[in-house]
C-alpha cells in the first residue's frame, strides 16, 4: 500500500546526513596497502560519507522502483491524497499497519545489508594493511 514510504523517509535522512558528514570530513589519512600480496601501494581510505551514500542509493533506488509498482497496482495516484488507501479510515489503518510491519522490515533489511558491507569493507581494509606491513617487514 505505501510500504516504500518508510525506506524513502530513511533515504531522505541518510542523504542529508551524508551531505553534512561530507562537509565536516577532513582529508582521509593515507594508507599503505597491498592489492595482490606482492607490491605495496599508497591509497587513501574511503570516507564514511561515501559509505553512507551506498545506503542512500540502495534506499532511493528501491523506493522509486517500489513506488512504480504501487502506481501499477493503482495504490498511488497522481492526485490528492495520492495514496488510495488514505481515502477512508479503514484502509488508512491497514496502510499504516503495513508500513509499520513490511515497510520497517524493508528498511531494516537494506540497512542490515549495508552494515554488513561496511563491516566487510573494513575487514578487507585491515587485511590489506596487514599484508602491506608483512611485505614491508620481509623486505627490510
Amino acid at each position: 500500500m505505501a510500504c516504500f514510504l518508510v525506506s524513502a523517509a530513511e533515504a531522505v535522512v541518510t542523504t542529508i546526513a551524508a551531505k553534512a558528514i561530507e562537509k565536516k570530513e577532513k582529508e582521509q589519512p593515507e594508507l599503505k596497502i597491498s592489492f595482490d600480496g606482492t607490491t605495496v601501494e599508497t591509497v587513501s581510505k574511503i570516507p564514511f560519507s561515501r559509505k553512507l551514500k551506498w545506503l542512500s542509493r540502495m534506499l532511493w533506488g528501491g523506493s522509486v522502483l517500489l513506488m512504480f509498482e504501487h502506481i501499477w497496482h493503482g495504490e498511488v495516484v497522481p492526485f490528492f491524497p495520492f495514496l488510495t488507501a488514505a481515502g477512508n479510515p479503514e484502509d488508512a489503518a491497514e496502510m499504516l499497519h503495513e508500513m509499520a510491519t513490511v515497510g520497517v522490515c524493508m528498511a531494516l533489511l537494506v540497512t542490515a545489508v549495508w552494515l554488513g558491507m561496511v563491516i566487510v569493507s573494513a575487514a578487507i581494509e585491515k587485511r590489506a594493511v596487514k599484508e602491506a606491513k608483512k611485505l614491508a617487514s620481509s623486505e627490510n
Binding site: 540502495m58 533506488g61 528501491g62 523506493s63 522509486v64 522502483l65 501499477w72 524493508m106 533489511l109
Partner: protein
Amino acid sequence: MTLLSSVFAAVICTVIWYKNAPKSEMKVGILCWMYWGASLMWLIDAVFEYAELGAEYFTPAPGDMLNDFFLGLSVVALGLVIWLVILLVKDPKGVIKEAIFKKKEK
C-alpha cells in the same frame, strides 16, 4: 516474478560493474544499487506474502504470473531509463558537452 526480474537485473549489472572496475565511465554502479535495493525490498514483500499464503505463494495463477512478469520487465526498463538520464546529465565522458559546444579550430 517481479522479485526474480530485479534480482536477475541486479546480478547482471553487478557482473558488468565488476568486469569494468575500477573504471566507472558508464556509471553501472547506479544500476547495481538501484536493483539490489529494490530486490531486498521485494524479498521482504515475498516473505510476508509467503507467511500469509503458505505454499500457495509458489503456484500463482498464470494470469497473475504474466502480469507480475510484465511488471518486472517494466521495473527493469524504468531502472534503465533512470540510469540513462543520470549518465547523460553527469556525462562522465564529456560526449554531451562535445556535442553541444563545438571546438574552435585554430
